[in-house]
């Protein structure tokens, strides 16, 4: 059975393809994404409040390596097989090495709906994995030249809206703990799925606009958009095994790895690698990878996680 939030995505997609006049106010879309980011952070922080933090550091190291690896491999594929220019390949690779909060939210929702637990640090992984691909992507495009304004870049990466909200939410959740959060659960927990549904409605509309662009791009970029998440998902599963995560945690780390950024990375790349064509990466990420992950990827990663967990 398809989750109801994914039905909202399909509805938006169809409405967009049928050229309906449906449109969400920009402020609503921004407000929803703000609430989702805070809620994910709060939930993660609340979970962390209940456990020791010391085993976390090596885990963070592992997921950073995971992100860097994905970016490098994607870059090699895009240059060698896709024959993209250096800048385009680097920018696109950064999208795929980084992560998508919306995909994470759909994955978390998929697990929660089925009563499958996952480790609270997944929210931290989400936060941490946003950044390394960005930096690797820029280095791939530019080399480590003196030109790069690393100060501005660090600012962009660590103080962007998404990372700030995730970290803030986590800190609040951690300090307040489960009890302290009770008064605000009405907004951040009870409405989470409704907010996610509306958010995915807009995502469907956004995705529908990529179809035209995608047609122009041809087979390579479409295949890349489909196969790269599969490959990254496997990498993610491997990493999860290494970290000894639960089945839910394995599924979600695979989902994270398979996901590709469409907010933080494009914005930063536009500034840091302006000669890269933003339409190219976005059409692959939004037109192929995002829909694939939320509709087919997540159940698949879960299936594989169950098999793997049984095997080891």
């Amino acid at each position: 059975m398809i989750d109801v939030v994914v039905l909202f995505f399909l509805f938006g997609l169809l409405a967009g393809l049928a050229r309906s006049e449906l449109k969400l106010p920009a402020a609503l879309y921004e407000s929803l994404s703000l609430i989702l980011l805070l809620a994910i952070g709060l939930k993660g922080g609340e979970g962390l409040a209940k456990q020791a933090l010391s085993p976390l550091l090596p885990q963070l190291g592992a997921v950073i390596v995971l992100g860097v690896l994905q970016t490098l491999i994607a870059f090699a594929i895009l240059i060698k097989l896709g024959r993209l220019g250096r800048s385009d390949a680097a920018a696109t690779a950064a999208h795929y090495g980084s992560v998508s909060v919306a995909t994470f939210a759909v994955g978390a929702n998929w697990l929660m709906t089925r009563g499958i637990d996952f480790e609270p640090q997944l929210a931290i992984f989400l936060t941490v994995m946003e950044v390394p691909a960005l930096i690797v992507g820029i280095m791939l495009a530019r080399g480590v030249s003196k030109d790069t304004d690393w100060r501005a870049l660090a600012h962009e990466s660590f103080l962007g809206k998404g990372v700030t909200l995730l970290m803030g939410g986590m800190a609040i959740g951690w300090i307040a703990g489960p009890e302290g959060l009770t008064p605000i659960k009405g907004l951040f927990y009870d409405l989470f799925k409704g907010a996610l549904a509306l958010f995915l409605l807009e995502m469907g509309l956004i995705v529908s606009r990529q179809i035209g662009e995608l047609r122009k791009r041809g087979a390579f970029i479409i295949s890349f958009g489909l196969l790269m998440p599969l490959f990254s998902g496997l990498l993610g599963l491997g990493c999860a095994l290494l970290l000894d995560l639960s089945v839910g945690g394995m599924t979600l780390l695979a989902t994270l790895a398979a996901s590709a950024s469409y907010i933080a990375v494009p914005a930063t790349m536009r500034l840091a690698v302006p000669e890269a064509n933003p339409a190219l990466s976005l059409s692959a990420v939004l037109g192929i990878t995002f829909p694939f992950n939320i509709m087919a990827g997540i159940p698949l990663y879960h299936y594989l996680a169950v098999q793997l967990a049984g095997a080891f």
């Binding site: 969400l24 920009a26 879309y29 921004e30 494009p266 536009r270 302006p274 000669e275 976005l282």
Partner: protein, 102 residues
Amino acid sequence: MLANMEKRTLLTVITEAVIEQSLLRDLEKHGVRGYTVSDARGRGSRGIRDAAWDEVANIRIEVICQRAQAELLLAHIRDQYYTDYAMVAFMVEIDILRGEKF
């Protein structure tokens, strides 16, 4: 005619919302002391730009200054941004009071 009326130039730049901060910092580095920004959407050689998010949204920046400075700014903008960004810029002559302000 009003006394103290002077001629200045209004430089208008329509471009990608995502570069707002960096372009404004850039203008300030070139001596601009005042500007006005508003949100816009549009269509041009780089396609339709009318989304809810910065990457596919436009802004419109206006700077009032001396003709010579406007030309310098325009030349800088052309060299720095025209190749890589969705952008249109134009200048128009205007009448103002308080010439010392611009």
